[in-house]
Symmetry: C2
Subunit: 167 residues, 2 copies
Amino acid sequence: MPAKAAKPYETELNEIEIEAIEMFINFLKLLGLPKSVGELYGLLFVSSQPISMEALMERLGISMGAASQGLKLLRSFGAVKVVYVPGDRRDHYVADLELSRFATVFLKDEIQPRLDRALVRVERMEELAETLDATERKATFERIERLRHWMDRGRKMMPWILRFLVK
Amino acid sequence: MPAKAAKPYETELNEIEIEAIEMFINFLKLLGLPKSVGELYGLLFVSSQPISMEALMERLGISMGAASQGLKLLRSFGAVKVVYVPGDRRDHYVADLELSRFATVFLKDEIQPRLDRALVRVERMEELAETLDATERKATFERIERLRHWMDRGRKMMPWILRFLVK
DNA sequence: CAAAGCGTTCATTTTTTATTGAACTCTTTG
DNA sequence: CAAAGAGTTCAATAAAAAATGAACGCTTTG
């Protein structure tokens, strides 16, 4: 039997947990979220019991700061919630299984504002293009209009995708 | 008049160029691409004339390596192409204005393989769940099925989005 | 065919991002 | 109401990602 690892008290992750964690690390990385957040959500997602922050830290081998901040973020998404566990003073967490939440928050918080800001830029570019001489203006306008076209398209697609996501 | 900046020979970027560059930096960051790639594409997007790599380096103030690698990446996306400029030995670049290219490549190269790998994981998790005792199995299966449901949904949405993007 | 030009590659450095853990606040408990 | 517990914050550190630039390999040119 091999020597026990450094922290003998933490419960090893089982294979299902590891699969789920890896899956969510990959998925959330796509949304620009750090590994530790993926780990937290992944473990909570497959756990049918609420888990305390301390247990999350121990089982995932992450620090107090990472756990606290990651959970804060997940709470702000509504991806995780705190539940009361009788006889235990500590907060316990469960995952909200509705995955669309991530996508929805991502669309609303990341994509939408970006589109809005981009549209402002396009308008500023159109104004600036007025000052160019005739030849340049024509070529430049064509390009700017293309941008505008795509912004509009993105903005029109948003509500459609959101509706699809919420079910 | 303020002292001239360090590199006196490079042509300053005009306001339209700056707007376009900033817009593409933001947009491409969303796809996980580095700033330098956004700069390159942004400048090429608003330029009606082909630009040599050397000019791109100078005007954007980026290094040879960054320019070479960024252009290589953009070429691989089909976002940029090389054009021949008579009497000049150097390669010159123009942007492909069809922005859907980025999104399409992103979906096909980033999202699709991720979904495929995730599905394999889900299947492995289902197998592993079989070995759990009855109570645990039921709860775990419910969660895994939810994952499967979202994977399927994502996979079904893909061709639809692609069709939408290509026009 | 030597020298210069162009572009790529990649080991190194810089910058950015994520994680750690000690200091702190607020809450509970004996 | 002191002491311990739970959780947050944030300055410092570590890890990851991007940019740099010198060395290299083709191509062109005189």
